[in-house]
Subunit: 211 residues, 2 copies
DNA sequence: GTCTATATCCAGATAGAC
DNA sequence: GTCTATCTGGATATAGAC
């Protein structure tokens, strides 16, 4: 028996094992379709440990929520530091989100593919968390300094980021086959400049030859 | 006792009472946080009836899902019939969605604010349902006839409709205080033309006088 | 077709040894 | 701090009278 113990590789701390297992189960099956017993089994810890560490399933979800949003916040901060113009900052955030969707499926699914109010009711809505507030502030800054048209800031933020978010969700749903970074350039372009050809009159005068 | 029965107004068919009650409870509390007993109580019918009619909670959700998507499909069809150009059709759909968010909160919340795979796993993803496929077809038609720039159709559809969808979700979350139709014009404009001022060089040359 | 009463099951949570 | 065994509540689902 002692041999087995010695054979064990770097013994991942219990906390981490639980969170990792839970995240995977949550995004694959949905919070409510996962039982504490399943988490316990997948994490190779006992039920007791789970309740000691997190107080229950909701506690795990809450911890995950905070942890992941913290990470997001750091990413946003980095972008803000490394780029000055709001336009560039938005671009970088969109690029990051595209990349993360490929490399951190679980995290993105947890953030963009779940209805958090149903299982962490007392946590702030995701759009009211620090990283997302910072993103809205970037948009406002962009309007203030003239890079963006001065329109309602909700509309502006929704337009700029609504496209990526939609793409992320479609990708997570396996509707889109190519990795998101493939679409990055056109996505950025479309999100920032719109889908219509730039000169409207040009379009209107065009012969609409297609049936 | 018989008096009570006579006093009852138009006796809504049981099916309908159940669906209405369930929809409201689902969108307010989330599917998994609602028990059949609650539905039964709110609908003023017996548990037996619910199981006879729908076979259980999932059955209700499935029926709702199909019913609502049918309605959506009819709406989209109307739009397609009444307007020829894809641009106009997109505009109309966005207008409709904005309006519905105010007048049919429950329906919009059920469609845009729930993770259906978690409770109606064998139904098609919402983006694979008929109305949404038709919407993507509109976008493709727009690219074909030159109204829209010829880019990947996922990107195009996401850009055009990602903005409204985001706005709808924010409105449902009570983040946006004004009714959505208020923002309609700017939203359309931004979704179709982008958030950057039309002429880029114009912006670049502008004095960025704001701090 | 509608109801009430009941059965069954399982998830969440705890107790207490180690 | 970690584990196993156990309790309890509540949800789904059914049976059978009316």
């Amino acid at each position: 028996m002692p041999y087995l113990k010695r054979e064990a590789p770097i013994p991942e701390p219990t906390d981490c094992k639980i969170l990792t297992a839970a995240l995977e189960l949550f995004v694959n099956n949905g919070f409510h379709n996962v039982s504490v017993h399943e988490i316990q089994k997948q994490a190779n810890v006992s039920i007791g440990s789970i309740y000691k560490h997190f107080g229950g399933k909701e506690g795990i979800a809450k911890a995950l929520y905070k942890h992941i949003l913290n990470e997001m916040d750091e990413l946003v901060d980095d972008v803000i530091k490394e780029h000055q113009s709001p336009t560039k900052q938005c671009e970088e955030i969109i690029r990051l989100l595209c990349g993360y969707t490929e490399t951190h499926y679980d995290i993105m699914a947890f953030i963009f593919h779940a209805k958090h109010t149903e299982f962490v009711p007392d946590e702030p809505l995701i759009c009211n968390t620090i990283p997302f507030i910072k993103i809205r502030d970037i948009v406002k800054a962009g309007m203030k300094n003239g890079e963006f048209r001065k329109i309602d800031s909700w509309v502006a933020a929704s337009t700029i980021f609504g496209g990526v978010i939609r793409m992320i969700q479609l990708r997570l749903d396996n509707m889109i086959e190519e990795p998101l970074p493939t679409y990055f350039e056109t996505l950025i372009d479309a999100s920032l400049n719109g889908v219509l050809t730039n000169n409207k009159t040009e379009v209107d005068n065009k012969i609409t030859a297609v049936s």
